[in-house]
């Protein structure tokens, strides 16, 4: 199903509840947030609010972090050992974790990024935690061996290995991990979805269409979680609190990015600059005008109506883009 609707007439509400007219035209627009010329590919974005946004990425052998303080973007100094950084998640402006390829993991304490010893040289694709002493990192070299999961207890990483019963599709990578309340899910190659139950990861079904990689997931509550993926064709999976179901929207390319701050819609992104809004209630997708050829790898919203999308080319010559969305709120 493909839905085309670009111009959204909005009805906004003033603080006192009085309806006010929406801006004359509020078309979803993405535009570059800053000039990324000369920088590497941009892979992840996360922050604590409008004046504290971290974008991570880099190139082969060189990690990058760029910070937005509400007015300007500044490159941050990262350890020389940091390879391309893929994903970031944190708990406060001075408590941010980031992971990347070849075992890269680091922590920002508000003053500096410092490397964390992961004990692995495998690629790490995702990080999420409920607290800074309860952090999960996921990854695994794509196409090799088995996925990698690491748990950080505040002091050290402990590896967790999925056995075949937890990974009967033979996925070799887990790409992202995310949770809320009592739910914690990780998603990965070959449509793998695993859930942490009583301290152990269990494979759960995504349905017949869950037959391609899931790359990312986000949600707003224990019963509103969306995962996206697919390589050549999109996959969108929704968790309703009990089970996952997956659709394959016809005509839509693969997806990599999803962010939700509203249970009725998810902002999604994917290959060839795709950005869109997915509406779980009717499984419709409204696509945005495309402004970049780079794959959009991650999307995050600052809670104040601004959304960032990042992406890039993850091979030489590495290049990337950081987009900011205006309109369409």
């Amino acid at each position: 199903m493909r839905t085309i609707a670009l111009v959204v007439a909005l009805v906004a509400c003033s603080k006192d509840g009085e309806e006010t007219a929406a801006p004359p035209t509020d078309v979803v627009q993405w535009e570059p947030a800053f000039d990324t010329s000369g920088m590497g590919a941009m892979s992840g974005v996360w922050g604590t609010g409008p004046d504290d946004v971290f974008v991570v990425g880099g190139s082969d052998g060189a990690g990058e972090v760029h910070h937005f303080d509400g007015s300007s973007w500044t490159p941050m100094t990262v350890p020389a050992e940091a390879d391309l950084v893929v994903w970031a998640y944190g708990f406060a402006p001075d408590d941010v974790f980031a992971v990347g390829v070849k075992g890269t993991a680091m922590h920002y304490d508000g003053a500096a990024w410092t490397m964390l010893d992961t004990g692995t040289t495998e690629d790490l694709w995702g990080v999420f935690g409920f607290a800074n002493d309860d952090v999960w990192v996921v990854g695994g070299n794509w196409g090799e061996d088995v996925p990698l999961m690491l748990h950080w207890d505040g002091a050290a990483f402990t590896p967790y290995t999925l056995d075949p019963a937890q990974n009967d599709r033979g996925a070799t990578s887990i790409f992202k991990v995310w949770g809320i309340g009592s739910k914690l899910f990780a998603v990965g190659e070959k449509g793998l979805i695993v859930q942490l139950v009583d301290g152990d990861w269990q494979q759960v079904s995504g349905g017949a269409e869950a037959n391609d990689d899931f790359v990312s997931l986000w949600g707003t509550s224990e019963d509103h979680i969306v995962a996206v993926g697919g390589r050549s064709g999109a996959r969108i999976a929704e968790y309703d609190g009990t089970s996952w179901s997956t659709i394959a929207p016809s005509g839509m390319g693969g997806l990599s990015a999803v962010f939700m701050d509203d249970p009725t819609q998810a902002v999604i992104g994917g290959i060839y600059g795709t950005t869109a809004t997915y509406f779980p209630d009717d499984d419709s997708v409204v696509e945005d005008p495309v402004v970049t050829d780079f794959d959009v790898h991650a999307i995050w919203g600052d809670g104040a109506g601004t959304y960032y999308g990042v992406g890039g080319q993850f091979f030489d010559p590495y290049a990337g883009v950081v987009l900011v969305r205006t309109g369409g709120s």
Partner: protein
């Protein structure tokens, strides 16, 4: 002017005619003589030629790209480690480079559907898009790569021609989507829907599963040959004959209207491909890839025939049957009407054709409407080549096409003939061959590659030529070929280097397998030691027996001079034998191969076949899967099988003509001298090193000396711990001394074909040859170069 049953299409013709063209515009005149309407100028040419619109610069690129298509990838180029083919044109050769291929180039796709109903393509020695790779040269992967036992979906694909793909790439999405009728709103029983690749309307592949030509080339290069590539740069994409630059963003952002996509050529896979074969990636440069993609894009649309009364009648029948509903005669391209005869949409083709293979959004029963241009010369037909003739293909239509097929069934034979004539007129007829030898190709002169070893009488020449046609002839399912298994659909399928009758690259190796039990004894699997490459059963992968634990390649040796070899008296071979290494205790034994009936074997890697007649019978049955007549005194080959085709499937005349062709083919001619002094020195070194102990330069035959460089005896030439195949009287490590004549023109080498060079082949010698090998390795560089120079003259 009541000359039609389909008035509105007549109108198209009238309009086209009345549009008129200058008499001196011959191309244009030809174009409007087609009943389905005008065709864009300068897009058609004989199959394999560049499009007439190509610029001089593009023609240069076309030539370079064709060279890339013909380039044989070797292991040091990055071939494999697992592979199906060693070059692009292996699968795109019929009737000329850029076309299709016979069933011997069929390949398998495999997948698993799990308990959730989720469909996953199978790996094959790594990720290969569901393609099953049939060969490997690797320490980590068996010669026939293992497959996941959970595979429960398999399909077969016959290679697809590339003619006119650039024109297909130029078609805009809106035009393609205009033919969609997903819910069959017009009630004609035919729906049709687009398939999508990365969000763009797909158009290439049996299921329109690929949108970009770059993707359609990079994928198979990796999946079938293990050749890695980087994506083309933006600058290169902009220079392609079909501009693939600008990117999806530009295409999708027209005036704020999303999804207005002109075409998705920019949507080629954007990531580099890598493998771990030890060769630096990318294994094909982007410059070469650019040339290859350009070549494909510039391949002309097949040149249609002038319309005749019969083809016109056939065209009307075509329309009345409803064929044109899916086989849309014209697509509107930027250059004008494109005579594609396809909507490029996917359709339900019915239960009998369904194979369960899903690609992108296409279900297992859905297939793209195959373009009909060039139809006459690119058979066999349908996705797996099961239709030997055009009529077979029509009969096998089902699903949405059932109505048209049923109406076809009601036609008179004359009407069928008219319809087939029309289809044959859609291009390629003049280039049709029963195999790959182009029509009218003369027999090479005596003593040249592929020619006879002496002057032939007129009758002999006719028989020789008939035998060559039989050798080259592609047989199909309706001929009884391959029931149920086969390696080739013709003799030429494996024997074509450097000409028909020659050797074959490693992608036509025969796979042998067996069981070495706990006692170290060799046991033949129930199906025999040949593990066939293909099948006509459509639903299986030619799995090896569960307990098979030994797999061994068999490279295809050339067949030049077989008659001369056969003329060497048995006494000569017996006199050379030294089975216990006591006659001449030099560490080299050599034993005569004794085969069925106590006869002396002299043909095959293990000298397992005694005569040319038996060789023919063995090959026809084992490699082609066909039955033969009984021939008194001959024991090889099968005379009956259990398919629906009457036995014998390969008649006696063909058998005898084929045997005559093989008997009379000349031995390989010596290569022209390049450095006579070095070659002469090399010949001396050849003897000094001891090569001639087994590779005896000359044996006397009935017609005179035969310079085959072999004693035709069995020798142990592999390491003591090697486990292989036993056959006839040859033990696991024993092989016949391979004749060296023709060496320079018949790579690769050794029984596995893993040696791409003569030097590599020599260094792989072991067993009895270990001393000789050591002597070779001890040579100075100059001596070694001289020896190789000599060998290259053979």
């Amino acid at each position: 002017m009541a000359w039609t049953r389909t008035g509105w299409r007549s109108g198209v013709l009238v309009a086209a005619l009345s549009a008129g063209c200058a008499k001196d515009d011959s191309a244009a005149v030809a174009l409007i003589n087609v009943g389905h309407g005008p065709i864009a100028p300068d897009i058609m040419a004989p199959l394999g030629d560049p499009a007439p619109y190509a610029t001089a610069e593009q023609l240069e690129t076309f030539a370079r790209g064709k060279e890339v298509a013909l380039r044989r990838f070797e292991r040091e180029d990055g071939l494999g480690p697992a592979f199906n083919v060693t070059f692009c044109a292996a699968c795109h050769e019929k009737p000329v480079t850029g076309g299709s291929a016979g069933m011997y180039r069929n390949f398998f796709l495999a997948a698993t559907v799990d308990e959730d109903g989720a469909y996953f393509v199978a790996d094959s020695a790594g990720t290969a898009g569901g393609v099953v790779r049939m060969y490997a040269y690797s320490d980590d992967v068996p010669a026939r790569p293992e497959m996941d036992p959970d595979i429960n979906i398999t399909g077969v694909r016959n290679p697809i021609p590339f003619f006119g793909v650039g024109l297909m790439a130029e078609l805009d999405e809106a035009g393609l989507l205009s033919h969609e009728d997903i819910d069959d709103l017009d009630g004609d029983g035919v729906s049709g829907r687009a398939n999508y690749d990365q969000g763009f309307v797909g158009r290439f592949g049996m299921k329109s599963q690929t949108v970009s030509i770059e993707g359609f080339i990079r994928g198979p290069l990796f999946n079938h040959a293990g050749i890695t590539t980087d994506p083309l740069t933006d600058e290169q994409k902009a220079r392609l004959p079909v501009d693939s630059s600008g990117g999806a963003a530009a295409a999708r952002s027209v005036a704020g209207m999303a999804r207005l996509i002109d075409q998705g050529q920019a949507a080629a896979p954007s990531t580099p491909l890598v493998d771990d074969d030890g060769v630096t990636d990318p294994e094909l440069s982007t410059d070469d890839l650019f040339d290859l993609v350009s070549y494909a894009m510039l391949l002309a649309a097949p040149l249609v025939d002038e319309e005749t009364e019969q083809s016109r009648r056939g065209q009307i029948i075509f329309d009345d049957l409803g064929c044109a509903t899916c086989h849309v005669p014209r697509q509107a391209g930027p250059r004008g009407p494109v005579p594609l005869y396809s909507d490029l949409l996917i359709h339900d083709m019915g239960e009998d054709l369904a194979d369960g293979i899903q690609q992108m959004e296409a279900e297992g029963y859905e297939f793209r409407t195959q373009p009909l241009w060039g139809l006459s010369a690119v058979g066999p037909y349908l996705h797996d080549g099961r239709a030997t003739t055009i009529e077979d293909a029509i009969w096998l239509h089902g699903g949405e096409a059932q109505g048209a097929r049923d109406r076809f069934e009601e036609l008179s034979q004359d009407e069928v003939d008219d319809l087939v004539e029309f289809l044959m007129s859609l291009g390629g007829r003049d280039q049709y061959s029963t195999g790959l030898i182009a029509p009218g190709t003369p027999v090479p002169p005596p003593l040249e590659y592929g020619g006879p070893y002496r002057e032939l009488s007129a009758d002999e020449l006719a028989t020789f030529e008939a035998g060559r046609e039989t050798f080259d002839h592609d047989f199909g399912v309706r001929d009884g070929m391959g029931n149920p298994r086969f390696n080739g659909d013709s003799c030429r399928a494996c024997h074509f280097d450097p000409v028909v009758g020659g050797s074959g690259p490693s992608d036509v190796n025969v796979m042998r397998h067996g069981i070495v039990n706990a006692d170290g004894q060799f046991v033949n699997p129930a199906v025999g030691s040949v593990l066939h490459k293909s099948t006509t059963l459509h639903e299986m992968l030619n799995w090896p027996q569960d307990d098979a634990n030994v797999f061994e390649h068999r490279q295809t040796p050339h067949l030049f001079g077989l008659g001369l070899i056969e003329s060497i008296p048995e006494e000569t071979l017996l006199a050379l034998a030294d089975p216990n290494d006591d006659a001449v205790p030099d560490g080299i034994s050599g034993k005569v191969s004794i085969v069925d009936g106590g006869r002396i074997g002299r043909f095959g890697w293990k000298a397992q076949v005694p005569t040319i007649d038996e060789f023919v019978r063995d090959a026809v049955t084992t490699e082609l899967g066909m039955t033969l007549d009984l021939q008194p005194g001959l024991t090889f080959g099968k005379v009956q099988d259990n398919d629906d085709v009457a036995d014998p499937e390969y008649d006696l005349t063909r058998t005898e003509e084929l045997a005559f062709f093989l008997e009379m083919m000349a031995g390989p001619p010596r290569a022209p001298s390049v450095d006579a002094e070095a070659e002469a020195e090399g010949e001396v070194v050849f003897a000094q090193v001891g090569c001639d102990l087994c590779h005896v330069p000359v044996l006397d035959g009935a017609e005179g000396p035969v310079a085959l460089y072999s004693d035709l005896l069995l020798h142990e030439i592999l390491p003591a711990d090697h486990l292989g195949i036993e056959e006839a009287s040859a033990a696991m490590r024993e092989f016949r001394t391979a004749p060296l004549w023709g060496l320079s023109a018949t790579a690769p080498y050794t029984h596995t074909g893993e040696a791409d060079t003569i030097d590599q082949a020599i260094r792989l010698h072991d067993g009895e040859a270990v001393t000789v090998r050591a002597a070779y390795e001890a040579l100075t560089d100059a001596q070694r170069d001289a020896l190789l120079a000599f060998l290259n003259t053979l």
